[in-house]
């Protein structure tokens, strides 16, 4: 028995050493990323007056630097393409945990399907994986069953096949790190776009309750921390979705404000300001951001 136990202990020590050696791959993972916004949040380097949360509609339609220059509030766009309200809540909690709290949070909405389970809007776990060397991130991954519980103890349990690739990820043509987190698209307007006038009633039964709860949680967090929360309805290349607005209004607390794009502005019916039916191009984004600036300054 003694010999067995000695060998088990020796093997465990050896395993511990091997495990530590593999930590290199975990620690190297964040360096490969060019989008370092989440890393900045956890490192406490996201001390801004205004943060913008949203999906690609937040990233494409809101020029953070323009807001900063015009309002004097330091601003950063934390919108991630394809992210849902649960991810926005996580980002907000992370900002508050590691940074000075912002004065304002602007949540850009995905009109019509903000609360639905659609394949285009998800919790962006892929943005968390490269940062699993942070316990905070690793715990979140464990909580959501995206990481094995053993990863609390062993580096090897955090490693995935991707981590062995030491090459840095390619920087996309639009680098969010050089534009205050915004992802402004310079593409010319798409002349083939057809303006949508149809009315589609909002279907409450397609909502995911957890997303409704996350919206409520965002409101509660902002209230507790005395942060001004502004919900933003950006333009689509179609008429305003009043049906969703009606449902949305019933979910928000009275202290929060809603900013809706100027539905009377004819430029939003002109395809030259749009990249596609849901996203503005640079020209369109600048126009819409101006509206946001006016809204911020109006209080």
């Amino acid at each position: 028995m003694k010999r067995f136990l000695i060998h088990i202990i020796l093997f465990a020590i050896l395993f511990f050493i091997v495990d530590r050696a593999f930590c290199f791959f975990i620690q190297n993972a964040p360096k490969k990323e060019y989008d370092k916004r989440l890393q900045y949040i956890i490192d406490g380097e996201m001390n801004k007056d205004i943060i913008i949360l949203g999906s690609s509609r937040g990233a494409n339609n809101v020029v953070a630097k323009q807001i900063e220059d015009s309002t004097g509030f330091s601003t950063y766009n934390l919108s991630y393409r394809g992210s849902d309200v649960s991810f926005h809540k996580f980002l907000l909690e992370s900002v508050l945990k590691f940074n000075k709290q912002p004065k304002k949070v602007m949540l850009v909405l995905d009109s019509g399907y903000e609360f639905n389970d659609v394949p285009t809007l998800n919790f962006r776990f892929d943005r968390l994986y490269p940062l699993k060397n942070y316990s905070y991130i690793n715990n979140k991954l464990i909580e959501d069953k995206k990481q094995n519980r053993l990863s609390k103890m062993f580096c090897l349990a955090r490693i995935k096949q991707k981590d062995f690739n030491l090459k840095a990820n390619k920087v996309l043509p639009i680098n969010v790190m050089t534009s205050h987190g915004s992802k402004i698209n310079s593409q010319k307007g798409d002349a083939t776009l057809v303006y949508g006038n149809g009315y589609k009633p909002y279907e409450i039964d397609k909502e995911n309750l957890s997303k409704i709860n996350d919206l409520e949680a965002i409101q509660n967090i902002c209230k507790e921390n005395e942060i001004e929360l502004i919900f933003v309805f950006p333009p689509n290349f179609k008429s305003f979705d009043g049906s969703f607005y009606e449902r949305f209004s019933s979910l928000i607390k009275k202290e929060n404000r809603i900013m809706i794009y100027d539905t009377m502005d004819v430029r939003y019916t002109d395809s030259k300001y749009f990249r596609d039916e849901s996203h503005l191009n640079k020209k369109g984004a600048e126009i819409f951001t101006n509206e946001m600036i006016q809204f911020i300054n109006s209080k």
Binding site: M1, R3, F4, H7, I8, F11, L14, F15, V18, F22, L141, K145, K146, Q147, N148, R149, L150, F154, L156, A157, I159, K160, Q161
Partner: protein, 479 residues
């Protein structure tokens, strides 16, 4: 509790320490510890079903004692039938009730009769098919006077519920396992190390090969209409490795864990995919179940001693029952039927015992004939597994139709290179160890410890790197 869970990683060392350091001097206490540990292990999943195991154990223990005392043949028969009916009654209710009700209703609907379906939302108690067969074999052996019934209740409870093999086998015979509870176990370094080695190999099979194959097999089987013939074939091959590595991996962990506690369980898999015909495959696949059916069903039915018709009848019975044992679905029955069809020509030609040795016994590589036979047997097995994996008969038939389409010759649209490399690595190791009880039993044993430990470390690293985010259940839990 799953073997591949953090809970088990904590549970096992605790039981090990209590077993060898606290209760070592008292055999009864040691056995009692095993009973408690086994009940905790099982109750971790659902404690309510513990009552079923306890009831089943007490019933068969009492029947065993009564059988020993009883001289009258009719009364002995009655006792035996009570045990069989109660045990199979539980199994039938939990596993087959809904199947029979649904098929009964459908059969009547063919004659224009409408009967309402009174199916129940029944949870299948994990391991019921395994421990039921284990207790049944005890009663039958006592009835046949092949075994003296035990008077030691604690040992009997430990035998029925022994946690390493409780939920997915190997199905142990009382003649092999029960006497091991009577004797004081002595710790052997070599046994314990061998146990650890087998556990490691079991984890590798389950986590690296089975779970990763499952990912692709599920994707392909669940969307079979969207894939080319070649991709569907690849999906079936992935499932073939998944089911083998999942189940034999469990058996390896179970046998290895038992060795840590000084017990020796029977080998359950003997490299079945290196078989040269289906008869050999069935001597190497799920050995504990195959031999159970052979001893308690096939031989009592007459085995292969009677005329041709009797041989055919018995072969079909044993394979159909074996299929049905796996689950209440026609897909399993057809899987059994197919295997019977594969097996019959060998039996009738008296070639079912041609390959009793290990393939390429004295050489490194097989000759052309052996290689061809192995590939043919493997192909037949892959084909049968399609029925086993499919959701329904229609699904299986559409899947097969999809495989044998023109697109069979195209490149598969799913090509997980890493996994294919791992499967090839796995096959190579299994081939090297095919003469042993498990693949790495003697691998590198004569080499320097540093080399051996490095190999084990590589396996561990692969287990971690290729592990899933969540603990994946073993397939055979559902049976």
């Amino acid at each position: 509790m799953l073997f591949n869970s953090l809970d088990f990683a904590v549970f096992l060392p605790i039981v090990f320490v209590l077993y060898w350091f606290v209760t070592q001097k008292n055999l009864k206490l040691q056995n009692a510890l095993l009973v408690i540990a086994s009940y905790v292990f099982y109750g971790w999943w659902d404690w309510r079903f513990l009552f079923l195991i306890v009831f089943s154990s007490l019933l068969d223990y009492s029947i065993g004692v009564l059988l020993y005392k009883e001289e009258s043949l009719s009364k002995r028969k009655l006792l035996l039938w009570v045990s069989i009916l109660v045990n199979l009654g539980f199994l039938g209710f939990f596993k087959y009730y809904n199947f029979f009700v649904e098929n009964f209703v459908e059969a009547f609907s063919l004659f224009g009769q409408k009967i309402s379906k009174n199916t129940l939302n029944i949870i299948l108690p994990v391991g019921i098919s395994f421990y039921t067969f284990q207790t049944l074999s005890y009663t039958i052996d006592v009835y046949k006077k092949k075994l003296e019934p035990t008077k030691d209740l604690i040992s009997f409870l430990a035998f029925v519920s022994f946690f390493p093999q409780l939920v997915a086998g190997p199905i142990e015979r009382a003649t092999n396992l029960l006497p091991q509870f009577y004797k004081k176990r002595v710790f052997h370094y070599s046994k314990a190390v061998d146990g650890c080695r087998q556990i490691l190999w079991g984890f590798f099979k389950k986590i690296v090969i089975a779970d990763n194959c499952a990912h692709y097999a599920n994707q392909i089987f669940n969307n079979s209409g969207e894939y080319s013939g070649s991709t569907l074939l690849l999906g079936a091959v992935f499932f073939t490795f998944q089911i083998y590595c999942d189940f034999s991996g469990y058996s390896d962990i179970a046998i290895g864990t038992s060795r840590l506690f000084g017990f020796t369980l029977k080998q359950n898999f003997a490299f079945p995919y290196f078989s040269r015909d289906i008869a050999e495959f069935w001597r190497r696949w799920h050995i504990s179940l195959s031999t159970w059916f052979r001893d308690y069903l096939y031989i009592p039915l007459g085995g292969s001693r009677g005329g041709t018709l009797m041989k055919i009848r018995n072969t079909f019975i044993i394979f159909l029952v074996s299929g049905f044992w796996h689950g209440a679905n026609w897909t399993f029955i057809i899987w059994g039927f197919l295997n019977a069809l594969y097996f019959l020509p060998l039996l009738l030609a008296k070639k079912n015992r041609t390959h009793l040795n290990v393939v390429a016994q004295d050489t490194m590589l097989p000759n052309f004939k052996a290689l061809f036979s192995m590939l043919l047997t493997f192909g037949l097995t892959v084909f049968a597994w399609i029925f086993f994996r499919a959701e329904s008969l229609a699904h299986a038939l559409n899947y097969i139709k999809g495989v044998f389409s023109k697109s069979l010759l195209s490149l598969p649209s799913i090509r997980p290179t890493n996994l294919i490399v791992l499967v090839v690595f796995f096959i190579c190791i299994e081939w090297l160890g095919r003469r042993q009880k498990y693949a790495i039993e003697t691998l590198l044993l004569k080499r320097h410890r540093a080399l051996r430990w490095s190999f084990y470390m590589v396996l561990i690293v692969l287990i971690f790197v290729f592990s899933s985010n969540i603990e994946q259940e073993f397939i055979y839990f559902q049976f």
